[in-house]
Amino acid sequence: MSEEIRRLSDVLVRDPASRAFVPLADALRRAGDLATAERIAVRGLERHPYDADAHDTLARIHADRGDLDRAADEWSMALRLDPRLTSAQKGLGFIDYRRGMLESAERWLGAAAEHDDDPSIARALATISRARATVNGANGHRDEGAPRPPVDTDTVTGSVTDVAAVNVAAPSPVAIPVVASPPAVPDAPSVAPVGAGAQARQLFAPLMGNEALTALLLDSDGLVLAGAYVDGDGRDIAEEVGAELAGVSDEAARSMRHLGLGAWTSLQVEADAAIVAMTPAPHGALLLVAAARETPVGLVRVILGRALAVAREWLARFA
């Protein structure tokens, strides 16, 4: 155990309400003990939920683990608490860069540069500018509409944390793969057999009966894996609805991490026009069932359970 960790641990033992948990968690992270670092950070946040630096530290821990979704979540929270926290802006910039969202990455780093004259930010911005030029040249259009490069740590040198600390080990433009295929979703099935599309859209149809119900299986980005959602005009709006509602599950997961009630198992939202229930599915997917407002709430939950069993079986075939 390093002297710094020992000293900060002593401070925290003497005063559990101390903010020493922030540098302690960061020191543990830098020492590579990510599990203990996370435990210290989460416990500290239970006492100091509005501490932007603590959220920033927890984001770095998640980033070091390669969990970019959680890292982005914590950096977003840090920025809500302190909109000028440059480390969070840089972290989000790097994550967007990793996700191929170059324009957004440029915006975050540009915002960081307004309050931080670290020259490595300027170098990172120059790198992104070159990368955007490369992508635009390859695709003939702007990057935000371009296919995303897969999240592959081998394409990037340096960790997210390094970037957040402004040791921007930014990759060269050639390190950004420009792919024509859909984005890879870690741990989620991304390839289905040819002709499986229609079957996927009808996956939950047998469960729906005559009720005004619909079910969607979404991947971790809110993209539709299976199911359909047809509006009154006969248009399939599954992608739009999935994208809007998937973010709620991220919020549920975040809440549970802080409340100590274990992992979330389901979320139910009763709105003017619909009842929406969702539950986590294997491989980071999300299952969502929506029903007309007059549908009994208990029935919606039963359908959700049955749809989850169908989704598990279907995912097992493609995983």
Binding site: Y50, L261, L267, Q268, V269, D272, V297
Partner: protein
Amino acid sequence: MNAAPWLATLTALSRHRGVLGTLLVSERDGLAVESMVQIGVNAETVAALAASLHRKARLASAAAGYGGVHFVRLDAERGHVLAAGRDDLLFVVISESRANTGLLRVELIRAAAGLA
């Protein structure tokens, strides 16, 4: 607004089996206006997270064309978070798994209607 009706509602909700805490929360800033929580439950944390969850659900519901949100229920391995509100104010309950969530839902929706 007189705080007494809120306290009566929070007290009534907190008497249910398995309830760990009841709060009246401002959704806008995530702060507890009033709370009755058991020792060990951090009211500030519950208020901030419940408000954030409700806000996200409300925005997503509106964006998906479902309209306003009346009730949100989050189930976890060892408990539940329930919220119902009107305008900026939310009644929030955090409970253990053994709580009667059906009854709590009815009372929360009724209490939220009284926030007008």
